[in-house]
């Protein structure tokens, strides 16, 4: 079932057209890896889907509701969570960071505490609770950011290169957590170059190249290229 989609989405920086996507539809409960060369627009696409950046043109739909980016609707922000490549942690505590989204949503203190405790256990962060967030390693920050997203039970999770610049152990732990998200049937789009992530079971593949988006074995994308070119792109992605 279609969850989040965009049509005729374009983005340029100055005279350079970054991408032009005719349609992109994310299915409920499916996980996608978004691949492409550096500078191909992967992060920008995720940021647009999350409402952090505004496209030049395009329309979106979430289930049966349409939206655009002028402004990005508040109700959709509650469903879609974006995590930076290098997540930012607020200068409070690990627990407060995880509780931030719950506080924003007005979750009452007792329930918030219970949910944060569950998220801490899920991401195995108990031993880091007393550590100031700014003293955490890259992998630990990534896990705190994933716990901060997990606790909100988002319908759509957008992750920008979650395993980039991590050592082997941190990568393994991060990928384990991502498996948890996938198992929970969260619709996830993960921009990455990490082969271990790309090869996770049931992971669909999106490839952004030369401003066009094509899809792997489960094609749900069309681009503004001619049919033959789109077919060629799709073949290249497989």
């Amino acid at each position: 079932m279609s969850l989040l989609g965009v049509t005729t989405l374009t983005k340029s920086f100055a005279a350079r057209r970054l991408f032009s996507i005719d349609t992109l539809t994310l299915q409920t409960g499916e996980s996608y890896v978004l691949t492409g060369e550096n500078g191909s627009g992967k992060s920008t696409l995720l940021r647009i889907l999350a409402g952090i950046e505004v496209p030049d043109s395009g329309l979106g739909h979430y289930q049966d509701r349409c939206f655009n980016w002028q402004p990005y609707p508040d109700w959709l922000r509650r469903e879609v969570i974006y995590v930076h490549q290098q997540p930012y942690l607020f200068h409070t505590s690990v627990a407060d960071n995880i509780a931030y989204g719950l506080r924003v949503r007005g979750v009452e203190a007792n329930q918030r505490q219970r949910l944060v405790a569950a998220a801490i256990a899920w991401a195995r962060l108990t031993h880091l609770l007393a550590t100031p967030p700014q003293k955490l390693s890259g992998g630990e920050r990534q896990r705190v950011a994933l716990a901060r997203a997990w606790v909100l039970k988002p319908k759509v999770l957008l992750l920008d290169e979650p395993t980039a610049n991590l050592d082997a152990e941190s990568r393994r732990q991060t990928i384990d957590l991502l498996r948890g998200f996938c198992a929970a049937r969260t619709t996830a789009v993960i921009a990455c170059h990490d082969r271990d992530l790309i090869e996770l079971p049931d992971m669909r593949r999106l490839d952004l190249a030369s401003g066009q988006l094509c899809v792997g074995s489960f094609g749900i994308v069309s681009s503004s290229t001619s049919p033959s070119m789109a077919c060629e792109s799709t073949t290249r992605c497989r």
């Binding site: 409402g51 509650r78 995590v83 997540p87 930012y88 931030y100 700014q134």
Partner: protein
């Protein structure tokens, strides 16, 4: 300071985050006002509050209220300019993270101010320093009336002009101790530097 802080920091935040025509000239003017002599601020306020001035009917000249207005005007450029710099210099991911986690505009503003609190408290300390050490504006719009509009800097100036240096030095020490105490309180709210 209690009046100037929310006003100055609020304007600084809006200048840092909103795009509107005239924003850049406004920033330049604010930064230019950092160098304005307090006696000039006092003179302008004096002209506004004097009997023939626009605000003359309010009869505020030579009152504590006039001195407070003057000190707010002196503190505002410092608070605005330094808050603006603090918020513009913040990590852009801080705002994006708050947005991505669904925060409302007021919550985003509060989050950003908390994130840059070290720099903000430096702005507050700076503005407080400017206010507590100024004499020109207080003399002009307060009139240095004993028991009514005389504050420590104007008292020091008066005692020194009378040749009462010991009294001036004693008042100076009191002023420094008060300033140190209040700055220590600011430092408490400032917290640790992030690095």
């Amino acid at each position: 300071m209690l009046m100037a802080m929310p006003l100055g920091i609020g304007i600084g935040y809006l200048l840092a985050t909103l795009e509107f025509p005239g924003r850049r000239p406004l920033i330049v003017v604010t930064q230019g006002l950092l160098a304005s002599p307090t006696v000039v601020v006092g003179l302008i306020l004096y002209l506004l509050l004097s009997r023939q001035g626009v605000l003359g009917p309010l009869q505020l000249l030579f009152t504590q209220t006039a001195m407070v207005i003057g000190q707010v005007l002196i503190a505002l450029p410092v608070l605005i300019a330094f808050s603006l710099a603090a918020i513009q210099g913040a990590d852009p991911r801080a705002r994006e993270t708050a947005v991505a986690l669904g925060a409302s505009a007021p919550r985003i503003a509060w989050t950003m101010l908390v994130e840059v609190r070290f720099a903000l408290m430096a702005a507050v300390c700076n503005a407080f320093g400017r206010v507590v050490s100024e004499i020109g504006c207080s003399l002009m719009v307060g009139g240095n009336i004993a028991g009514v509009t005389r504050n420590i800097p104007t008292a020091i100036a008066l005692e020194t002009s009378k040749g009462e240096f010991a009294q001036g030095i004693a008042l100076g020490i009191v002023l420094l101790v008060v300033a140190l105490g209040i700055n220590s309180a600011f430092a408490f709210f400032q917290g640790e530097s992030r690095r």
